[in-house]
Amino acid sequence: MTLLVTVFAAIISTILWYQKENRKELRLGTLSLMYWGASIMWFVDAIFEYAELHAAYFTPDPMDMLNDLFLGLSVVAFGLIIWLVILLIQDPKKIVRNAILNQ
């Protein structure tokens, strides 16, 4: 479930990167690469788990699934926080800088 949530986050961020004209300013490439990196890593984790559990891998307990969903959403939120921090530090449109200086 964590893998699935992260893959969806990667797909959505890639679509946004493809669509937006200001992709460089918004650092959308960084966000999508980050999610793709995590998705690949969880995919490897899933391969090893499948090798151990076989078909049972696809029928998890509802409680485990709920916990994994909660974890997946938290991971996506954590990724967004990292991206936001990078964006605000690099501040390509100088919005943070101007806001602080004009106070």
Binding site: M34, W36, I40, M41, W42, V44, G79
Partner: protein
């Protein structure tokens, strides 16, 4: 258990390499020349790999904190506190961790290959138009 440490180690190495390549490109003024030709510098391509490795490792580390496998006190990894768990952790690092780092690198090599083909195509079109 601690599989994210393998991609993290690779990320440290590739970040150092990226900084060196970037400095070398700046020194030779290669970066701007390549950008004018519509090409992507190697340091920028390395940045793609670094973002995938650092981002993936950070999110994976978060998962390990979630499961209580990484703690904010010594020895930081709960599996490192007893020898049998430590052996299991090292086994996981050498299998899952290594495969994670390898697969991310393979995907990056694919991205670089596609980018090189597109750059070559652009150069060919420019040369044909000049003729």
């Amino acid at each position: 258990m601690a599989c994210f440490l393998v991609p993290t180690t690779e990320a440290i190495v590739t970040t150092i390499v990226e900084k060196n390549v970037e400095a070398h490109e700046k020194k030779e003024d290669k970066g701007q020349t390549l950008q004018k030709q519509g090409k992507v510098t190697f340091s920028r391509k390395l940045k793609w790999l670094n973002t995938m490795l650092w981002g993936g490792a950070a999110l994976l580390a978060f998962e390990h904190v979630w499961h209580g496998e990484v703690v904010p006190f010594f020895p930081f990894l709960t599996a490192a506190s007893n020898p049998s768990d430590a052996a299991e952790m090292l086994h996981e690092m050498s299998t899952t961790g290594v495969l994670m780092a390898v697969l991310v690198t393979v995907v990056w090599i694919g991205m670089v290959a596609v980018s090189n083909i597109l750059e070559k195509r652009d150069t060919d079109v420019l040369l044909t138009n000049k003729r």
